[in-house]
Symmetry: C2
Subunit: 293 residues, 2 copies
C-alpha cells in the first residue's frame, strides 16, 4: 500500500511524518528550524531512515513561497525575513535527495487541505483555514480548489480598525505596524500585556480586545470570500474564552447584513477549531502528497 511523507516546514520548527492519514501515522519527528542546510539535512535523514519507501512527499511551508507548479521556482521559499532562508529551493532539494515526487503549498493551504480531507471542513468546498500563533496566516479552498491566485493570500496582514485610545499598542508587524498580525498574533499579546499569552487568564481584558480584532478580520474575509466555514487553529486559540467571544462579535458585526442561517443560527459550527488540532499542518502535507495537486 502506498505510503506518504509530510513535512510541516515552519519558521520556528519542522514536523515530519510518515503515514496514510490521522489513524495511521507510522513515524513523526520535530526539530527547530535552524539553517537551511542543517534543517533540510535532518528532513532527508528522517525519510531515508524509514523502513519502507515513500510514494510521494508533501510540504506545507512558511513563506512567502512560490507555490505555483508551473513556475521555474516552484516550491522555493522566496523573500522571507528569516536569515539564510531567502530563495531556498526547499521542494527541489528534498525531491532531488529522495528521488520521489514532492508536492508543495503554503503551510496554511496544507493545513486547510488536511482539515478538508479528514477534519472540520470535510465536504465543504469553500472555506478558510486561519492560524493565530507567532504570526497570522490563512489558506482557502474556493469551489473545491485551493486558492493560489497571483502569489498566495496574506490575509493575516489586512488592516483592521485600531482605536488608539482603547489600545495604544502600536503593533509589531515589521511591514505594517498595526495590521491584524501586528495587533493580534501571539507576540502582540506578549508585548502589550508584558506576559506570554498562555499566562493570561480567561477573564483578562486581553481576550475581548483580541476577539474584536479577529472578528473584524473575519468579517472582511466573509464579505470578500463568502466561506461556508472558518477553521481557526494556532497556539493563541488554545485560550478557551476566545472562540465564544469571537463568534458573538462576528454575529454582532454582520447582523442584519449577511442573512445566512449558517451564521445567524449556526455560528458555533461556522467558526470552529481544527478537528485535527495541532496535527492539521503535517497531516495536510500528507494529504498534499496523496493528491499531488
Amino acid at each position: 500500500m502506498a505510503l506518504f511523507g509530510g513535512i510541516e516546514a515552519g519558521g520556528t520548527k519542522f514536523v515530519c511524518a510518515v503515514g496514510t492519514g490521522p489513524d495511521d501515522v507510522r513515524a513523526v519527528t520535530r526539530f527547530p528550524t535552524t539553517t537551511p542546510a542543517e534543517t533540510i539535512g535532518r528532513v532527508i535523514e528522517f525519510f531515508r531512515s524509514q523502513p519502507e519507501p515513500m510514494t510521494a512527499i508533501g510540504i506545507g511551508a512558511f513563506g512567502p513561497t512560490d507555490p505555483d507548479p508551473a513556475s521555474p521556482t516552484y516550491g522555493t521559499i522566496t523573500s522571507t525575513p528569516k536569515p539564510g532562508w531567502q530563495n531556498t529551493p526547499l521542494r527541489k532539494l528534498v525531491a532531488d535527495a529522495l528521488g520521489v515526487p514532492v508536492a508543495f503549498d503554503t503551510d496554511v493551504n496544507a493545513a486547510a487541505l488536511g482539515e478538508y480531507t479528514w477534519g472540520a471542513a470535510r465536504g465543504i468546498d469553500t472555506f478558510i483555514y486561519l492560524t493565530v500563533g507567532t504570526g497570522i496566516g490563512g489558506g482557502a479552498m474556493v469551489e473545491g480548489r485551493m486558492l493560489h491566485g497571483l502569489v498566495h493570500p496574506e490575509m493575516g496582514h489586512i488592516r483592521v480598525p485600531h482605536d488608539w485610545a482603547v489600545d495604544p499598542f502600536p503593533g509589531f508587524c515589521p511591514y505594517h505596524g498595526d495590521c491584524l498580525e501586528g495587533l493580534a498574533a501571539g507576540p502582540a499579546l506578549e508585548r502589550r500585556w508584558g506576559t506570554r499569552a498562555e499566562t493570561l487568564p480567561p477573564d483578562h481584558p486581553a481576550w475581548p480586545l483580541e476577539a474584536e480584532y479577529l472578528a473584524q478580520a473575519l468579517v472582511s474575509y466573509i464579505l470578500i470570500l463568502s466561506p461556508k466555514r472558518i477553521v481557526i487553529g494556532g497556539g493563541v486559540m488554545h485560550q478557551p474564552a476566545l472562540f465564544p467571544l469571537v463568534r458573538t462579535r462576528v454575529k454582532e458585526l454582520l447582523a442584519g447584513y449577511v442573512q445566512s442561517p449558517a451564521i445567524l443560527e449556526g455560528i458555533d459550527t461556522y467558526i470552529v477549531p481544527p478537528a485535527l488540532g495541532d496535527r492539521a499542518g503535517v497531516l495536510g502535507a500528507i494529504a498534499l502528497a496523496q493528491g499531488q495537486r
Copy 2:
C-alpha cells in the same frame, strides 16, 4: 446557430440583449426598474418579440440574491431593500414564461464572466471585477470558477480606514454607515461635495480621497484573494484622474510586501477598466447563458 439572451437586472435599470457576443448583438433594450410585474413583463415581451428563438438566457441580477443552482430558491432576489422586490423568483418567472433554460448569477459575477470571456480578464483564472457606481460590488473568479461560497461576496461593504478629521462625512450605507460603499460609491461623492460626481473636475480633492478608499479596499482584496488582475467598472470610474491615483496608492500601500512583478512593475495592466465598458454586465449575462453554469 445558437442564439442567446442576456438580462442585466439592475436596481435602477434593466438591459436586455440578444446575440452571441460583443461583435454580434442583434437587439438591445433598456428600461427603468419599476415594479417586478411591470419590469419582468417588459423583459418577456422583449424576448418574445424577437424573430428567432433563444437557446438559453442568462441573468445577472442586483441583490442580495440566491445564486445557488442546487437551492430551491435559485435565481430569487432575496432580502433587497428595494420596495416590492423582496423574494422575487426572477429566474423562475422568466424561465416559465419563455420556456428556455435560464442561468442566473449576481450582476457582478455576470460582468466578471463577460470580461473573462471577451474582455480584460481573458485567460486569467483568478481575478476580481468591481463596480463603483450607485453602490459598490464585486464578483470573483478563483482558479477558473466563479466564486459563490456561502451566499455571495459583498465586498463593497468591507470597512476601510476612515479618518474623521480628514473626512467628516459619516457615510451613507444604511447597514454600516462608513463601509467602503458608504464612503466611496457615487452617492457618497454627491452628498460629501454637494454635487454629482460627474461634475467634479479631475483636480478636485474629491479624487485623491476617493482613490485612498478604493486603494485601501483593493489592498484587502489582494491580501485575501490574491487576484491576478482587478477590473474596475461603474460610473464613478469614468473620471479619468481616478485610475492613475488608485494604482499609485495601491503600489505604495503594498510596497515591500506583496513582491510580485505584476504589481511592482505592471500596475497599469493589473488594475484596469473593463474592456467591454458598460456592456460588461449584459454581455456577461449572454456568456452565462452560453455556459449554463
